[in-house]
Symmetry: D3
């Protein structure tokens, strides 16, 4: 039976996205010396598909997933949509219900289980604000999606 | 126009629930010296209503909300349900679709905006695992709900 | 092209369910002299299926639908579920997310369009309260479902 | 423990929106002499965000909410979205699934509970038709959202 | 009590949409000699309303439904939306969450029950692919909606 | 770039579940000589978790998935839930909204893409009836869930 190790992929993705700065290679307390691939980014949008696209683009550019392999894109896509569900809480809709988001995101690819058969997983974390399309009329939101690669 | 201050209620609720131990009064780096009320707890359940009840009970016991005022219960209830939506991602269902959760939760009551008119808000953060009702067959989840009190 | 007549089936169902007393045959201002069949009832429940069952039973007992014809049961069922969606607003869940309802319901069967081809339709209206399973911790809710018979 | 008074904010909002004319100050049977603020309006749209915007604009123009206080906008926003869920019954989508709405709306701000601690609440009621984007191919819908302010 | 006959309207609609070619009148093994009306079509879209429109247009052009009778349009509309829910599995969204579909559809109008009181029903079946807006990055999907006419 | 081959895993799963009998090894026209693993089963239930459990048990017993590897259970679980969404169309609820299902299911594990990097995928197809908990008061339903393993 497999178990989650101390290298919790979701927790690390959340701490990355909540951190005030991107961790530097030499002292990145969050990512330590794990052989994991990760990246960080930002996106502001009134349309969910722009959030999806921004995260997919970042994952491809930073070599987190192989853009030629559909199974990797499929795994990432579902992790993104699940993370957005935490942000939108109910309906994956932004501008169509007159709200907008400003989000930071992190993506980590790694092996969080203690048995090698579990292979690689991907985590997408989102943190930022949702609100009316007016600066200041907003509150915080978070989302996390995890999938096997 | 009001703006979120540095005292981000959602971020603090998340850092609290992600922390390995409860912050102690004298050195709680997360909560600093804010005049905010907060509490932490744990709940494992196959039924969403037990998660709701555990958080409501903790909020009442720790004086986060006034159990005799419906508007406070109403505000907390919606914050809890929104946090659970991040955990369940689509349908607020656990045992009814054969899955179980083991969660830590934090609740914070405070004033995250820089204008006094915004008054008090409540944040509920959830972090833990979801999975089959077998130890080890699970992955991490997170949720955050924020509401005006 | 067909149009809704002044005999608005949904509005009448709502006015019936909002009225403080059941209209009497001789002076029922709401139902006037329309050759429509209708009934009224009450249900309190923590489980949505009890709401469905109470309305179905009333409709059968009062001759609103023919209990031996599946198309009538199918039409009523969907009208009920749509009305409940107005009450629960998001997830058709009550006790499973720790809330309860106390509802009055009305059912009307009639022909609200000005062309005979449109035939009969059914309307189900719900009005009452939703809240914590404690008296007083609740607010009002409404729902309306309409379907062709 | 607080209880709903006879001044039921949801019922009044529904009766207002169902009334054939706007109640006049001197004889408004629905609103009587309550010190409540309310307004009425109309919106036809194939996009939910136009419904949200029309109601928010009316609430601000008529002084129902303070447009500079986010907590008031947040409370109203959720009441609107909940009312729309009664109208759309399942997915908050109109034109994206090829349907359109023609709605009247009412907004009331008042104190429906018998204890002063419960403070002010807001109710948004919707009534009108939903259907294909062709006149006459439509049926009635209703929605009600209630939130603490 | 009514029962489904061997002339299963849903199964036939699925076999039609899964068949590699349209059945010819003289040897259509799927439709046999049933006095049922049916048609087949194709639609590729990033917007759900285009799927709805394509199916509605085909149904009207092929005489499956009467375009002047709202009850027939209403019945078909709900069958289409239910079939799309099988395709989208959770949220009726395509381009707004950055995905596209390529679908074949079939529509059958007939009487699948053994008692004449059950009258006519309509079935809409969908089969094709969903995926990223890039050829090849997709997997299969299916949906079936059935309603009384 | 990968493409779906003629060995369409979803279509085969649907044809299997729609077939009147299980295909025999020597003449199984549906499965031909593909090196794919598959199984068939039946389940009748008023609770979605029984449908999930029946399919998971069949998959484990027939060696479709490895019961000790969470990533395989995770992949199958999401395929099952997506298939159930086609059956329930909106809310994954059965008895809780007073309806019951009688389903046949098929599970196939195979490689439907023409490039080896795409690896194995799993398809779950459901076909049967949904309706009131009374024999005869029901119509057909279908669902298909596909996931990378």
């Amino acid at each position: 039976m497999s178990h989650l190790t101390q290298n919790l992929i979701g927790k690390k993705a959340l701490l990355l996205v909540l951190a005030d700065q991107e961790p530097e290679p030499e002292n990145g307390a969050v990512m330590e010396k794990l052989p994991w691939r990760y990246c960080l980014g930002k996106v502001g949008a009134m349309e969910a598909h722009k959030v999806v696209a921004a995260i997919e683009t970042a994952a491809k550019k930073n070599g987190i997933i192989n853009p030629d392999v559909y199974r990797e894109i499929h795994a990432l896509y579902h992790a993104i949509v699940e993370a957005i569900e935490g942000v939108t809480r109910g309906q994956i809709q932004l501008g169509s219900v007159l709200r907008t988001v400003g989000l930071r995101f992190s993506i980590i690819r790694g092996n969080p289980y203690d048995t090698p058969e579990e292979g690689e997983w991907i985590a997408v974390a989102l943190y930022g604000t949702i609100g009316a399309p007016v600066k200041g009329l907003e509150h915080e939101v978070v989302g996390l999606g995890i999938n096997h690669l």
